[in-house]
């Protein structure tokens, strides 16, 4: 489904991933370009539950960040070995299994109807609601679309951060273990949020809110680009209904949160003990490829963040030098030189702003994209893990079947007719499970292949477009620099 962009209304971050860095900043209105995205790929976005890797998450703030899916006793996250149910899913998840044809259809639809994807979501107007530690930020979520699945062409609701996490949590628990890459939600930040709650009206908390707003926008856009997610009632409800039940279990230190942690620990152990016989070279190759990509993206992300930091520093130091040069110009008693120095000071002040703008571009265009992809890749890895689990379940079922057959054989000799019947029933049952396991495995493998294909297409599109935008921002900066120096040169020459 192609994403057709409306001509950029001001303030609308059409390509929502890269939102606006600053209001009214011409540099960034460019972002919502109508000349965009050809095709169909919806990012096979990775799901939050990075089963194991969240443990190894660098950011201590976000220890609970990905712990956003509902974990109940019937949750698929529990050991496959223990799970006895026919399908280790909470009820709604039956749908993908049984109606896999329906979804295949949806996926094909997306390939056929190249141009029917038309939806643009923007997140704006952050407003603080309440006071003190119970305060929160409410954001306006505006959806502009011509898709029929929505009740109106233009919808607007107010949502808070935990609502987004709640949405993600529901989507993750529904789709993740079928191999869908569910886009990860933006990360929690206890430090950042506390500052805002406490009411610190300084630039760092404004920046934090803007960063979050932009991230939420990108998150929603990625989510609706996924054809499966777009049709999910949770998503529709999120975008449409004015009231949303509060997602409580997303809180960091809730009981559910602790339970999630425990389950993740269990999963980590499991992952280490499952050794999969990879019969499909494609998967092996892909996994390796994504490992490499992940490593490089992390490295790149770190370097870009360092660049942002240094540019901001450069901006501050330039400002301070400008003041100093102005002072020097004041005390210089040769008139022409004095004037030239003042001009130098003025120019450096303009450079300060230029550097700051460039730092924002570095950040919002480049660094945030990389950050998103680092999280996405972890979700991709999660999807591979799911496949491994599914395989493991299938193998366990086979093992169980074998045992039941052996038990039955023994009973044959022992001649206990009633027990024999039970054994035969159990064999039937486990044969069914083995078949189901095999089907599940094949289905998830198929889904993953599709998802990865979509993910790669989306990745290519994202990076190409971001790189171009970033280079354009660099071009603008250089052009400004030239203007400034060209204005200064005659002043310097005028010193007599």
């Amino acid at each position: 489904m192609a994403a057709e962009r409306d001509p950029p209304p001001p303030g609308d971050a059409g390509q929502a991933r890269f939102g606006e860095a600053e209001d009214g900043e011409d540099l960034f209105v460019v972002l919502c370009s109508p000349a965009s995205l050809p095709a169909e790929d919806i990012s096979a976005n990775s799901n939050g539950p990075k089963l194991v890797d969240s443990f190894l998450d660098d950011d201590p703030d976000d220890l609970f960040a990905e712990a956003t899916e509902e974990v109940s006793l019937d949750s698929p996250e529990r050991e496959p070995i223990l799970s006895d149910g026919p399908s280790p899913a909470i009820t709604p998840i039956m749908a993908p299994r049984i109606d896999s044809t329906l979804f295949d259809q949806a996926l094909e639809e997306e390939e056929d109807n190249g141009d029917t994807f038309d939806i643009c979501i923007s997140v704006s107007d952050p407003e603080k609601v309440g006071d003190g530690m119970n305060a929160y930020m409410a954001y306006k979520v505006t959806t502009k679309t011509s898709l029929s699945v929505f009740s109106q062409n233009e919808l607007s609701v107010r949502r808070r951060f935990s609502d987004f996490l709640g949405l993600h949590s529901k989507l993750a628990s529904k789709y993740m273990h079928s191999g869908y890459i569910v886009p990860p939600a933006p990360e929690k930040s206890i430090v950042g949020m506390t500052k805002v709650k406490v009411g610190k009206e300084d630039s760092s908390s404004t920046e934090f809110v803007e960063k979050r707003r932009s991230a939420l926008e990108r998150y929603l856009m990625r989510t609706v680009k996924h054809p499966v997610m777009l049709k999910d009632p949770n998503v529709l409800q999120f975008l449409e209904s004015s009231e949303l039940p509060r997602a409580v279990s997303t809180q960091a230190l809730s009981g559910a949160g602790i339970l999630r942690m425990v389950n993740k620990a269990a999963d980590a152990v499991n992952k280490m003990t499952i050794k999969m016989n990879e019969s499909d070279a494609w998967f092996e190759e892909k996994q390796q490829q994504f490992e490499n990509l992940d490593a490089q993206f992390r490295k790149l992300h770190a370097s870009v963040e360092s660049l942002v930091c240094h540019r901001k520093e450069l901006s501050l130091n330039t400002a301070s030098f400008a003041k100093s040069a102005a002072m020097l110009g004041n005390s210089e008693d040769h008139t022409a030189l004095s004037r030239a120095l003042s001009q130098l000071a003025e120019m450096e002040e303009k450079m300060e702003q230029l550097h700051m703008d460039q730092a924002y571009a570095d950040f919002y265009l480049f660094a945030e994209l990389l950050g998103d992809y680092v999280r996405l890749l972890t979700a991709v890895k999660g999807v591979f893990d799911q496949r491994m689990k599914t395989w493991s379940k299938w193998q366990d079922a086979q093992l169980m079947l074998q045992r039941k057959r052996e038990a039955e054989a023994k009973l044959q000799y022992a001649n206990k007719p009633d027990k024999l019947q039970q054994a035969k029933d159990e064999i039937k049952e486990w044969e069914g499970k083995v078949q189901q396991g095999e089907r599940d495995f094949e289905q998830i493998s198929k889904t993953i292949r599709k998802e990865l294909g979509r993910f790669e297409k989306e990745r290519v599109k994202d990076f190409k477009s971001v790189i171009i935008k970033y280079l354009e921002s660099l071009v603008q900066t250089q052009q400004q620099l030239i203007k400034y120096w060209e204005a200064f040169l005659p002043e310097a020459k005028a010193i007599a």
């Binding site: 370097s303 870009v304 240094h310 003041k323 020097l328 190409k464 660099l474 620099l481 010193i495």
Partner: protein
């Protein structure tokens, strides 16, 4: 060995590679005495400068000759000027700062230690950069030593100084050792006394408007130049750090490009190539700012201090003169030791007047030099920045053209 216009390193001092490096001073050099540093060698912990002189003055045995000198010998020469009463009325050209490669050496060492933890390309890249940095510092220290000599050579009185001639001509080691601890301590106390004294002397209001104005001006100017110098250093450091980051980004993009199997790998490779080039330009921007702005400010920090010292000496002489006057009056009143008092007063008067006369000219020259140097450097800075920005722009635009054409 320092090679002029090093092959692959950026041309930091391209304009100043030949002849006297009048980087921060606009000097009239005439044929009668031309001094420059034609070569330099950096050893473990010292730098050896080859001082080359061309002169038609009869006092020299030859018309052209060279000697090898070290930093301590420059300091010795400078100090001999300062201590010479005859030169009290002149602005003594500030001594060149000690060559300081410590930071650079430390970085090179750290790099060597961390060799195992990075890829070969990264290591080679970083090594090249650190070597370029080392070379830049080296070139700078040579320039600063040369400027000192040129200033002396251009000064109508100082150029005739005997010590200076010995410095230029005597082809053996001057056996000037650096100050030992005791001497350094003595210097320290001398400076403390001097600043305390300086405050007292500065408090004396001067009858002469010109000098009174100069005093106020120099005091303020000196402080502000100091501040501007420090701030420009910080600004340039940030610039360098940003350039380093771009370097790392370029490397990672390159790896991504080579690993990637999709369409976007070409993008990565192209952008990596672009960033390699733009980073070099950014590094040069920082280096030019350093040379044309930071060094200029640093130099005038030192010169304004030398001018302040001159004013101090004059102030000192004025106080001595006034004290001598008072002593003479007292002596006349008591009619005791009048002759002696008269002689002392005469001497003080002459000294004061001599200093005042030359000081006035020196300060006027200082201003002329300063204005010319600032003009030269600011113009050159603007021209270089423009050149770099245009270069950058062209690279960016051509890369964009290629990338856009491919999507």
């Amino acid at each position: 060995m320092m090679q002029e216009g090093l092959d692959d390193g950026p041309d930091f001092l391209s304009e100043e590679d030949r002849g006297p490096r009048a980087v921060n001073v606009d000097l009239q050099t005439d044929g009668t005495l031309q001094v420059d540093i034609s070569d330099a060698l950096s050893e473990r912990d010292k730098v050896k400068f080859t001082v080359h002189t061309k002169s038609t003055l009869p006092s020299f045995k030859q018309n052209e000759f060279s000697v090898v000198r070290q930093h301590e010998e420059f300091i010795w020469l400078h100090d001999s000027f300062v201590e010479n009463e005859e030169y009290a009325g002149y602005i003594i050209p500030p001594a060149p700062p000690r060559p300081d490669f410590d930071a650079s050496r430390e970085k090179l060492q750290k790099l060597g230690e961390g060799e195992g933890s990075m890829t070969k390309e990264e290591f080679t890249k970083m090594k090249q950069e650190l070597e370029a940095e080392y070379l830049a510092i080296f070139k700078k220290t040579v320039a600063m030593h040369e400027v000192f000599l040129c200033r002396v050579a251009a000064h109508p009185v100082l150029r005739k100084d005997l010590n200076f001639h010995v410095f230029l001509e005597y082809n053996q080691d001057l056996s000037v050792r650096g100050k030992n601890k005791k001497e350094k301590l003595e210097d320290f106390f001398k400076n403390v006394v001097k600043s305390a004294d300086g405050v007292l002397v500065a408090g004396v209001k001067d009858v002469d408007d010109f000098f009174e104005h100069e005093k106020t001006f120099l005091l303020e100017y000196h402080n502000r130049v100091k501040d501007a110098s420090a701030k420009s250093d910080r600004m340039i450091r940030s610039h360098k750090s940003a350039a380093d980051d771009i370097n790392r980004i370029a490397s990672t993009l390159y790896t991504l490009g080579t690993q990637d199997s999709t369409d976007v790998c070409k993008f990565f490779l192209k952008v990596s190539e672009l960033f390699e080039k733009t980073r070099k330009i950014e590094a040069r921007v920082a280096a030019d700012e350093d040379l044309k702005l930071a060094d200029l400010l640093k130099y005038y920090l030192r010169e304004s201090q030398a001018a302040k010292d001159l004013l101090y000496r004059r102030g000192r002489a004025l106080v001595d003169y006034e004290n001598a006057n008072k002593a003479l009056d007292k002596a006349r009143a008591k009619n005791k030791d009048v002759l002696q008092a008269e002689t002392t007063q005469q001497i003080c008067c002459q000294k004061f007047e001599k200093i005042s006369e030359s000081a006035k000219q020196e300060l006027i020259d200082f201003k002329t030099r300063r204005v010319a140097a600032f003009r030269k450097n600011l113009v050159e800075l603007a021209e270089l920045e423009l050149k770099h920005a245009k270069g950058n722009l062209q690279l960016l635009q051509s890369c964009l053209g290629v990338l856009k054409g491919d999507t």
